[in-house]
Amino acid sequence: MSGPSDYQPTNSALKWIERRLPILGLMHSSFVAYPTPRNLNYWWTFGAILSMMLGVQILTGVILAMHYTPEATMAFKSVESIVRDVNYGWLLRNIHASGASMFFLAVYIHMFRGLYYGSYKEPREILWILGVIIYLLMMATGFMGYVLPWGQMSFWGATVITNLFSAVPYFGESIVTLLWGGYSVGNPTLNRFFSLHYLLPFVIAGVVVLHIWALHVAGQNNPAGVEAKTEKDTVPFTPYATIKDAFGVSCFMLFFAWFIFYMPNYLGDADNYIPANPGVTPAHIVPEWYYLPFYAILRSIPNKLAGVTAMFSAILVLAFLPWLDTAKTKSSKYRPLAKQFFWIFVIVCVLLGWLGGKPPEGIYVIAGRVLTFCYFAYFLILLPLLSRIEKPRPAPNSIAADVLAKTGSRSTPMVSTAIAFALAGALFAGSAQNARAADHEEVPPSQKWSFSGPFGKFDRGSLQRGLKVYKEVCSACHGLSYIAFRNLADAGGPGYSVAQAAAFASDYKIKDGPNDQGEMFERPGRPADYFPSPFPNEQAARVANGGGLPPDLSLITKARSYERGFPKFVFDFFTQFQEQGPNYVDAILQGYEEKPPAGVSIPEGAYYNKYFPGHAIKMPKPLSDGQVTFDDGSPATVAQYAKDVTTFLMWTAEPHMEERKRLGMQVFVFLIIFTGLMYFTKKRVWADAH
C-alpha cells in the first residue's frame, strides 16, 4: 500500500504465486518494510490493540453464535446454558462481554490520541472520517449485542433506544414499527438484531481495511506532528513497530484478563440477570458505560426531538473536525492553549459519562446542560477560534530532531496522562452503578465470604448445609430452575458423589410424558432433571403469595446489587470486591423486624425488612432459629442459615467460579512472563534506534 514493493521471494513456489497474485509483496510492503515514524509513543499501539480486539470479538462471537438461540423465550436461557454447560462457555462469554468494554475503552483512547496530536488534519481527513464511521458501526454493534442476552436491561435498553427514532416528525411511529417488526420490542426485534450483530463486525472489518489503507497512503502521524521527510525519520515496521505493538498488546491483555477472570460483572448491570419482562420497567434504565456521555446529552435537553438530534450531532460533529480546527500545527504539544483545552474537554466527557449514569433530576439536569454546552462549544467555538488566535510554539524541523531533543525526560507526561485516563475509566465504570443510588436505603453489611478474592473457593460444608436450607425452606416458594441434580456432583460444587446426586434426585417427583397412552405421568427424578419449580406459572405463584412473585433463585446473587458509591467502586476494582449480591441476599434474610420504625407504614400482607428497597416485602420472615438441623454440628441459627444458603446460591449463580479463578491465575502467570519477555525484546530491538 506504500507504492510498488521491491520484495522478491527467493523460494520458487512463492515466486510462482507472487507472479500471479502479488499478495506477499503487499504484505511485505504494508507490514514489514513500511516506514513508521521513529518517535511514536505507546499511545500509537492502540491501533494494534484495536485490531486484536476486533479479531477477539469476531472469533468469540462466531463461536457463541453456535450455541446461542435468538428466540425471545429461549435467549436468556441459552446464554445461561452456554455459561453453565458448554465447555469453556463461561470463558468465551466473559471474553466477549468484557471484550466489548475493552474495545470501546481502546477506541476512546485511540480517538483522544488522534484529537491531541491532530491526526485528523491534512492529509488524513478521510482516514479520520473512516474512523468516525467505524466508531458509529461499533456503537450500533455494541447496542445490538447487548440486547441478545434478553435480560431486563437488554429489553428496556432496546425499547428506549429504538424509541429515539419516534422523535422523527411524521414518520417516527412507522419507523419504530419497522425497526421492531411488531408493535413493541419482541421476538422479531431480537431476531433481526442477532442477524445484524453478526453482520456488522464484518462490515467494521471492511472499513478497518480502508482505514489502514488510508493510513498507509498518508503515513502515520506522530507526536511531533511533522511529516517524515528523510529515511532518518523512520524505522521499518518490522521489527520495530511489530515488537512495540506486541508489548502494548500484551500489557492490554493483562488488563483485559483482570476483567475476564476476576471481575466479569464489574462493568455489567445486575438487572440483566433478570429475564426480560415487558410488563415491568427497571427503576433506572442505564446504557452500557461507553454510551453514557451521549445518553447524558440526550437527557439534558428537555425537548425530545432536539435531544435526539443533539445526541447524534455529538457524534457527527467529529466527522467535521478537520474543517473546524484549521490550525497549521498538528500536535497539541506545541499548542499551549489547545493542550489545556484538550484536557478540559477530556474531563467534560468523563463528567458527562458520570452524569449519564445519574437519575435526571435537580442539580444533575443543570450540570448536564452546562456540560453539553461545553462539549459542543469545544468543537464549534473553541477549536475554530483557537486556530485563529493561538500562537503555537515552534515544532521541530524533523522527526529525527524531535527524537534527539528528548532523549532525556519524556516519561513524565506519559505518566500523568496515564493516570488521567485510569481515573477517567474508573469514573465511567462506576457511574453505571451510581445510577441506582436513587433511594436512600440501608446498605447491606459486607460479610466475609469463603469465595471472595482471587483464590476464593466455596466452603463445601456451607454449600451442603445451604442446599439443605434451600430444600427444606426456600423451595416451598422459590424455583432453582437452572440447576440440575447432576450439578450437585460437579467439580467446584457441593462435593457430592454421582451416586449421592442420583439418590438426591430420586427423592423428587418429576412430571414427564406423554406416555404411550398419551398421558402425563410422574416419575422419580434423575440426575439430568432440573430442580422442579414450586408453581406451574407466574400467575399461580402470584395468587399463592398475595400478589408477590417469588423470584427464581438460580441467579439471585448475581441479579441483585446495591450502590457502592464513589470512591469505593474504584477500590473494588483492585480488591476484586464483587459480593454485593451475596451481601444483599444475606442481609434480606436477616433484615426482618417485628415492628417497623416509627413513621413507616407497611401495607397489609407485607412485612418490614430493613434492607429491601422500599422496606415492604411480601415474603414473610422465612428463617427462624432451630428450623433446620445440621448433622455437622453447625449452629442452628438464622445467621448461620443465611450464610449457608447464600453461599449455596452464589454457587448456583456461578457454578464454574472456582475454575474461573484457577484458570485466571495460570493465565496471569503466563501473561506476566510473556509481557516481561516482550518488554526486554523491545528494548533490544530499539536499542540502536534511539
Partner: protein
Amino acid sequence: MGGVAALWPFVSQMNPDASTIAAGAPIEVDLAPIAEGQDIKVFWRGKPIYISHRTKKQIDEARSVPVSSLPDPQTDQARVKEGHDQWLVVIGICTHLGCIPIAHEGNYDGFFCPCHGSQYDSSGRIRQGPAPANLPVPPYQFVSDSKIQIG
C-alpha cells in the same frame, strides 16, 4: 424506478408479519370486576393498556385544571367515552422513551414513569417531566355497559 421497486420487498419485510398483525386483533375486556379506585393492566399488541375505574375525586381533579395550562392541552372529556366518565383507558407507555409508568403514583393521582421522572395526571395527561405528550388513548368502544373492545 426498477431499482426502487426491487428495494421495496427488502424494506417491507421488516414490518410486522401477518401473524403479528393477526395477533394484534381487537380484544374484549370485562370491566365488571374492577372496583372503583382500582385499575388493571391488559396487554394488546404487546403494549400494556391501563384501564382505570376512576373515583369521583380523580375525575374532578382531572376536570378542574385549566386546559390551556397543560403541556399537551386536551380536555378530560375528550379522553374518555361520554357516559362512561369513570373509565380511563390509556396505553401505558411513557411518551418520552417507552417505559411503563406506574399507576397511582406521582403528584397528580395518575401515573409516574420511573425512568426519567415524567408524571401524568388522572386523565393520563402529561403534567411534569420530559415526556412531550399525553398517554395515548387506544382505539376502543363500549360493546355493553361493562365490556369494552380494544382495537
